[in-house]
Every structure is written in structure tokens, then in C-alpha cells.
């Protein structure tokens, strides 16, 4: 029997149990990484998902070169994730309710937001307004994509503007914060949702622990930036276990239907 080690409590978990438990450690409830495909499967009604704007791709318009070129990094990320970008967007049903759905993937260049991610979210907003359905985005990201320079910062404004239209048309907007969500995503669409749900133990902050530690030159409290601390500080509405997320979302969707 194949086993996986829990990243938090180091206990061995049988692979089959790990998957049945939705990539959550059965011993310590540590929520591990889950890929967008699996996330979709455990969230949406089976077979209900139609992907939108699959053909939008990033381009290396600045010819950004650090130790590798941005085009190389993009190719590697595509190979690693078999996705075109750090987010998949589309329409799906959750317990029979139509929703516009975005799911980010941290493995694609740290889930960073460049022009393609920004455009996909903007188009998802358009779709949600056109169809008059709620919008749900599963967030995970290190922030803006530095390889697109200033244009990645502008995606924060772009996505916020899209969400503004969604909210002004009285469409419900929910974000689900998954580990980790920080930087330009936290400071744009993730925190302006009508309802913010966080998975247990997810890092959810603006500046990451390393940067904050450097600034204040003191050790940080062990719960820095976690969902639990954010709940205490009034920054999220609730913490929901992965296994209960679908039910929680379904309940909210029913309530907002009136």
C-alpha cells in the first residue's frame, strides 16, 4: 500500500484514505494541496462543468529574463500542470444551482496573476453578469506575476473593476481562500467578496511571513496569517473543512436565491 507523509504532523497516511479524505490528513486535519480538476469534482455536480476561455495564454511581452526566460517558465508550468494558465474558469452547477466558477492552481508559477489570469477573471465576471448567476472563485496565489512587470499590478485593478460590475448588478460573489493566498490576490478580488470562506490552516495575508519577519525583526506568532487568526481578526466569514465546502456553498446559494 502506497503511503504519503502528512506535511504537518509527519504521520504516514495510506494513499487511498488520503484521497477519500479529500487530501486532508485524517490525523491532524491539515488541508493539503488539491489540484483544480479534483477540486471541481468534489465541488460541482458531476459533468456539469463547461470550461470558458480555455484558449487564453500568457505571452512574454517584456522579454523578461531572470535566471530563465519567462517563456521557458511558462512552458515548464504548462507541462507540470497540463493547464494553460494559473486559473481555470467556467460555468458549473453546485447542487443544481448555476454558478460561474474560477479555480486557481498554485502549481502554475505559484498561482501568480498575469494578464491571462486577469483577462480570464474579467471574462468570467462578464459571463456571470450576462447569465445572472453567482460567482465563486477558489483562490490560491503568491500574488502578482513579476515576470509581467507593471502589467501584473494592473490586473489587480482590472479584476477589481470586473468584480465591481458583478456586485453592482447584484450578483453574489463568494471567494474560498485556500492555502496559500497572498499579495496581489489578497489585495484585489479575494478580499472584496460578499462572503469569504477559508479552508482550515490556509495562509491568507498581504505580506508573507518572511517579509514581515524581516521588517519587524521579531519572531512571528505561530498562527501568523492563518485562517484561524483571520477569523479572530474579523477578516473572513467562516472556516470550513474541505469535506463540508460543497454543502456550505449549496446552502448559501439557496439562501441568496431568495
Amino acid at each position: 500500500m502506497e503511503k504519503v507523509k502528512c506535511k504537518n504532523c509527519n504521520k504516514d497516511i495510506e494513499n487511498e484514505i488520503f484521497i477519500l479524505n479529500l487530501w486532508v490528513c485524517p490525523y491532524c486535519n491539515h488541508h493539503h494541496y488539491i489540484n483544480p480538476g479534483d477540486r471541481l469534482q468534489i465541488t460541482a455536480d458531476s459533468g456539469s462543468f463547461t470550461e470558458l476561455e480555455k484558449n487564453i495564454n500568457s505571452v512574454d511581452f517584456l522579454n523578461f529574463y531572470d535566471l530563465k526566460s519567462y517563456s521557458t517558465r511558462l512552458k515548464e508550468a504548462k507541462l507540470k500542470t497540463s493547464l494553460n494558465e494559473a486559473i481555470i474558469t467556467g460555468e458549473a452547477k453546485i447542487d443544481g444551482n448555476d454558478v460561474a466558477l474560477g479555480i486557481m492552481d498554485f502549481r502554475f508559477m505559484g498561482g501568480s496573476m498575469g494578464s491571462a489570469v486577469g483577462e480570464k477573471i474579467k471574462l468570467l465576471c462578464d459571463h456571470c453578469i450576462e447569465k445572472e448567476i453567482p460567482l465563486i472563485i477558489f483562490c490560491t496565489s503568491g500574488g502578482a506575476r513579476m515576470q509581467e512587470g507593471i502589467m501584473s499590478l494592473m490586473q489587480m485593478a482590472k479584476t477589481v473593476s470586473g468584480i465591481n460590475r458583478v456586485k453592482e448588478k447584484k450578483n453574489l460573489f463568494i471567494t474560498v481562500i485556500t492555502n496559500p493566498t497572498s499579495g496581489g490576490i489578497s489585495a484585489s478580488f479575494a478580499t472584496i467578496a460578499d462572503i469569504i470562506i477559508a479552508e482550515p490552516g490556509a495562509l491568507f495575508c498581504f505580506a508573507g511571513p518572511r517579509v514581515v519577519k524581516q521588517t519587524i525583526k521579531k519572531n512571528l506568532p505561530p498562527d501568523f496569517g492563518t485562517s484561524e487568526r483571520n477569523l479572530k481578526n474579523g477578516q473572513v466569514d467562516m472556516i470550513t473543512n474541505r469535506g463540508d465546502l460543497r454543502d456550505t456553498l449549496a446552502k448559501l446559494l439557496r439562501i441568496f436565491k431568495g
Binding site: 507593471i150 482590472k158 465591481n164 499579495g183 498581504f206 517579509v211
Partner: protein
């Protein structure tokens, strides 16, 4: 190969070049290859070295602009406020949890018309800089700015912002108080207002902390100011994992006014006196005043709805991607 030539290559790329060089030398020594010319390989390497030298020269040029943008002698928010507006009244506090000295917000008059003014203030000497937290804002500051923006929107006052910040303050208290949501809500609010918004980058435009005040119908940059998603120092630490990458990062990030105008992220460059704004602060302030006056004339006759929708359209069209 003349090793002296390599001195002008960025340190980060020296390893790569030296690696290629030694590989080439080794190959030449393999008996099997004697008599074979390595001209092409040598030519390639030489052009690579030339390219890296060009990159280094350009990086130094950009770095000088970064240094200018941070120059202590540049006019700061408070100088522009004193030099441009009459009857300025400073408004303080977010009515929730406090006040932030890195942000100055208030109301004043320009050419007989009332306006709202918001800006980051860094301070001029070390004492002032500490007092104003080096222009790094906390949620209280962004929320104070939101309060003044709402006030301006209600009374139909144009909003003028002066941006000069290394970035939002990365501290525990700021995080606990919702730094991310404070910035996000500032951006959101700037998409809601139906008054003209003019944003001017006067020094450093650092990341989300800058963007929180920069959603303008017109966004202008002083010639030697910068605007970037991350500081060159931060970028180098993450991507180059080495401080020697700082100047290279500054170049790659395309953070100068000319780059940003080319990318159409800003609408205008405001030219500085020769050598930089620090050489003639009074003249600089006059030039900025002229710009605001002319820009307001451009915007004042546009309806509130149009101002709002045009602002949204402008930012929503930003980005480069392909459809394949």
C-alpha cells in the same frame, strides 16, 4: 578570450559565461577535435557577452532613475499641497481604529474650485521619515483615504492623488488589521466614484500600496518617478536569489515613466527640470500645477457616469495575452 572584458558583465550571468568558456576550452583540447574550427561557437559566445554588457549598461541607467525617484530632495506630497492648493484643510483618521501619518488627505481649492487631495508622505530627514513611516501605509491610512474619497464623491469634488510609497507596510499589526482588504477596498472604491480622478506618481510607486491611490481617469508620472509591481530589491531576492540581481531586476521590471507610457499603463509623462526635480523643486511644483489645471479642464466636462465607465474600461483593457 580577454577576461578583462568580462568585468562589465552582470555578476549574475558571469557564472554562465565562464561555464561556457571553460567548456569551449575543454572541447578544443580533445584530440578528436584538433583542426576543427570553433569559430561559430566563439562568435556566439562573444555576442552573448556583448549582449550582457548592453544589459548591464541599461540596468545602470534604470538604476539611476530608481535612485532619483527616491531622492530626499524631491518635492514631496506636502510640498505639492502647499504649493498648489489654497485653503487646504487636512482631515485625519479612519473613524474605525486610528490614523496613519504616511497618508495626507484633505480638501482644498485650485483656481477657485474645490478639490480633494490625497497622497503618501515620506518625510525629508530621518526624523520625519520615521514619523511618517517612510511613506509605508497601514490600513488606517487607506481607510482614511476612502473616507475622503467618499466625501469628495458626495460633494462632486475632483480627486487628485500624489503617489510616493515604497509599498504598504508589511507589519504584523497591519496584517491583523486587514491590510489586504484595506487596499482592495480602496481600489474598489476608486472604480465607484463619479468625479474626475487624477493620479500623479511623484516618486516611488511601490506595488499595491501605490495602486490603492492610483486608479485615475488620468494617471501621470513625473519623468524620474517609478511604478512597479515589486521593488527591484524584492524581485531580486525572489527571482535572482541574490542581491547582485537588483539592478537587473530594475531593468527587467520596466518601471520607468517611458516604459510605462509605452505600455499605456500611464497617460502622460510630466517632464522634470534638467537633472531631476530635486534640482529645482519650485519649478517642479509649478509644472505639476499646470498639469493638474490642464488635466482638470479636460475632465471637468465629462459626465459622472462617463468618468466612471471610462475609468473601468481603461483598466479592464490592460494586459497582453494570446488566444490560441
Amino acid at each position: 578570450m580577454d577576461l578583462k572584458k568580462l568585468e562589465e558583465i552582470p555578476k549574475s550571468y558571469l557564472k554562465e559565461i565562464l561555464g561556457s568558456l571553460s567548456k569551449l576550452e575543454k572541447l578544443k583540447k580533445v584530440p578528436f577535435f584538433t583542426g576543427i574550427h570553433f569559430k561559430d561557437a566563439e562568435k556566439d559566445l562573444a555576442s552573448k557577452i556583448e549582449n550582457y554588457k548592453r544589459v548591464e549598461r541599461d540596468a545602470i541607467r534604470v538604476w539611476n532613475i530608481v535612485k532619483l525617484s527616491r531622492h530626499e530632495g524631491r518635492p514631496q506630497c506636502i510640498d505639492y499641497i502647499n504649493g498648489i492648493f489654497e485653503d487646504f484643510v487636512k482631515l485625519s483618521g479612519d473613524r474605525l481604529s486610528g490614523e496613519d501619518k504616511s497618508i495626507i488627505a484633505g480638501l482644498g481649492r485650485l483656481n477657485g474650485k474645490s478639490v480633494a487631495v490625497i497622497g503618501h508622505h515620506k518625510g525629508k530627514n530621518i526624523k520625519e521619515r520615521i514619523e511618517h513611516n517612510f511613506g509605508m501605509s497601514i490600513p488606517q491610512g487607506y481607510r482614511t483615504s476612502q473616507r475622503v474619497i467618499r466625501l469628495a464623491d458626495r460633494f462632486g469634488l475632483p480627486i487628485i492623488t500624489f503617489i510616493d510609497t515604497p509599498g504598504a507596510y508589511p507589519a504584523l499589526e497591519a496584517e491583523d488589521n486587514g491590510q489586504a482588504s484595506a487596499i482592495a477596498n480602496s481600489i474598489l472604491l476608486m472604480f465607484k466614484v463619479k468625479v474626475p480622478v487624477i493620479a500623479i506618481l511623484i516618486g516611488e510607486g511601490g506595488s499595491g500600496g501605490a495602486l490603492a491611490l492610483a486608479v485615475g481617469n488620468e494617471v501621470a508620472m513625473l519623468e524620474n518617478s517609478t511604478y512597479s509591481v515589486i521593488s527591484p530589491e524584492g524581485c531580486a531576492a525572489i527571482l535572482w536569489k541574490n542581491p547582485s540581481g537588483i539592478k537587473l531586476a530594475a531593468r527587467e521590471l520596466k518601471m520607468t515613466s517611458r516604459d510605462l507610457l509605452r505600455l499605456r499603463v500611464i497617460d502622460r509623462i510630466i517632464h522634470e527640470p534638467i537633472g531631476g526635480a530635486q534640482n529645482a523643486p519650485k519649478r517642479m511644483i509649478k509644472i505639476v500645477k499646470k498639469y493638474i489645471t490642464v488635466s482638470l479642464e479636460r475632465l471637468i466636462n465629462i459626465s459622472g457616469e462617463d468618468l466612471k465607465s471610462k475609468r473601468a474600461l481603461k483598466f479592464e483593457s490592460m494586459g497582453f495575452f494570446t488566444r490560441e
